[in-house]
Amino acid sequence: MRRRIDFGGIAIYTGLTVLALLMLMPLVYLASTAFKPIHELFLFPPRFFVMNPTLLNFRDLLLITGTSVVPFSRYIFNSVVVTGSIVAGGVFISAMAAYPLAKHNMPFRQHIFSLIVAALMFSPMVLQIPQYLLISKSGLMNTYFAQILPFLAAPVGMFLMTQFLKQIPDALLEAARIDGAGEWRVFRSIVLPMLKPAIATFALLSFVQAWNDPYPAMVYATEEDMKSLPVAIQTISGGAGVVARVGTYAAASFLMVIPTMLVFVVTQRMVLQTMAHSGLKD
């Protein structure tokens, strides 16, 4: 790694900074709009930055939706329950499955792993129809289970976890076994703590996916009080192409974007550790 600042270095910094600011602009605009008072929202010529920031939009968000069928806090609650369950449940079953896949040598191990790698190669979106039929026939519509169960077995997170565990030396596991620990003990007291970076990565990916995806709630919930935050935001916006209640809309969107950023800030170091082992080989 070069540390001296040469002309190449200056070019790199300039390029990176310009691009980074360009990438940030939409986010800054979102934040700025969320805090704009009503007379600034419709200013002409349009202004990018807020002049007199206010929390009015956030108050309106709670007021407007408070008088409608379902209070806004209900959508937040639904999103938190569904996302939380997907993250916690997914982490647990994937960590359990990653352990034998990476460290045991049972028959069909390679086949199962190949199956997971194959599942990386297409989007779960193409499986919506049978998933929908299954959920609706089994009477799970309008329950939290409908929005959680189909998303627990996540191939990408599972793959990253297994790859990460593979490179952890066997010596520690062996030592624990010699000390008389059963496989469950080995898993709980040695594998789980060592898997922490991979768990953080899994949590980030499945959090982002579950938090942002409006379709589970659109498809698996017909009752308003089971809908999630992204669906609520679509309702506030009034549908595609319509700009109504910009202030509240931006405030709601702002509330939606912040958690994903926070999760990344918290997990980033461990995520990069894990992603180093993301390589696929033929």
């Binding site: 986010l27 997971i116 499986l127 992603m275």
Partner: protein
């Protein structure tokens, strides 16, 4: 039990050892193996019996795998098979599915002009955002890997955050940026700069819909692949660069082509697989910005067509055929990429 102990292999030894010790999981195992032995049909001698013993020996491993495999089978493997089955039927949910042979596919490729248009739009989108997003992600990750550690996080955050924002949430920004009147930011600038005389309907004009979707998607494209590149690039062994310097590698770009890219090839493959999937599943951004259906179907993608038939018209058989086509496109393209990357 026809136990064939050909001397436990090293990895089996661990499982055997835990069996002898009798941890919590192994207690179940020894109890069940007694019952299993009496229930099991007469052992077929040879390979099958050997495999069976091997499976029994690793019972604990399967217990660990069971919850994941169950969900994976029910929600991923089985749906693929069901989709393929349904795609040969007429099924509207109310009546039981009726087998109609390949007519769904015939209808798709011969009569459904909108589907063909959706394939065209998806491919046009994928051919641009796929490679461009991929190269941009690698380039940015490489540039970040060239600067000292302490500044890296800030840049990583700037580039990665767009990909984890929700398309729904960000549409408030895009609708304003691309708004079709003078108040739209882009229109306002273009008119001020004298490039346009009157506002352009970016989200309604069929000429600009796909470019707008491409621009927004590119903004959001520094995702998992970008992180994989970044991590891979940070972990290229320093010795490789030192060896390279001795061999006469002088410039950054020489380093990049002769040392860095070969060293991160596995991450490049992972990123490529992720990129193919994400560029062919374009849907969300399109629906948020131009709606479903979009003006003259100009932003209609394969997934939009699938969603339309599945959850608006409830023609599940036809929608399943669309799903199978999209699945084959993704899977086929990724197999091809595996093939290309695998060989030198």
């Amino acid at each position: 039990m026809a136990t064939v102990h050909d001397g436990p292999r090293p990895a089996d030894r661990a499982a055997l050892a835990s069996l002898e010790r009798g941890g919590p999981a192994t207690a179940i195992r020894s109890g069940e193996s007694a019952a299993g032995a009496s229930l099991r049909p007469a052992p077929a001698p040879g390979k099958l019996a050997l495999l069976w013993t091997d499976i029994k020996k690793h019972r604990v491993s399967y217990y660990f795998l069971a919850p994941f495999l169950l969900l994976f089978t029910v929600f991923i493997v089985a749906p693929i098979l069901v989709s393929i089955g349904l795609s040969f039927t007429y099924y509207n949910i109310l009546e039981p599915p009726r087998f109609i042979g390949a007519s769904n596919y015939r209808l798709l490729f011969v009569d459904d002009d909108i589907f063909l248009q959706a394939v065209g739009i998806t491919l046009r989108f994928a051919i641009i955002t796929g490679p461009l997003g991929y190269m941009l992600a690698f380039l940015l990750a490489w540039l970040i890997s060239q600067i000292p550690h302490k500044y890296r996080f800030l840049y990583t955050l700037c580039f990665y955050t767009p990909s984890i924002t929700s398309a729904t949430a960000m549409s408030v920004v895009w609708l304003y940026l691309f708004a079709g009147d003078r108040k739209g930011l882009l229109n306002w600038w273009l008119i001020r700069l004298g490039i346009l005389d009157e506002p352009f309907l970016f989200l309604q004009d069929i000429r600009s819909i796909v470019p707008v979707i491409i621009a927004v998607s590119l903004w959001m494209s520094m995702g998992v692949g970008f992180l994989a590149f970044l991590a891979g690039l940070q972990n290229v062994p320093k010795e490789l660069y030192e060896a390279g310097a001795i061999d006469g590698v002088k410039h950054r770009w020489q380093e990049l082509f002769y040392i860095t890219i070969p060293a991160v090839r596995p991450q490049l493959l992972f990123g490529a697989v992720m990129q193919v999937v994400s560029s062919l599943q374009v849907f969300d951004v399109s629906v948020q910005l131009v709606g479903l259906p979009s003006p003259l179907y100009a932003g209609h993608t394969i997934l939009a067509h699938l969603y339309d038939y599945a959850f608006i018209r409830f023609e599940m058989g036809y929608a399943a055929a669309i799903a199978v086509v999209l699945f084959l496109m993704m899977f086929g393209l990724n197999r091809l990429i595996f093939h290309l990357f695998g060989r030198d």
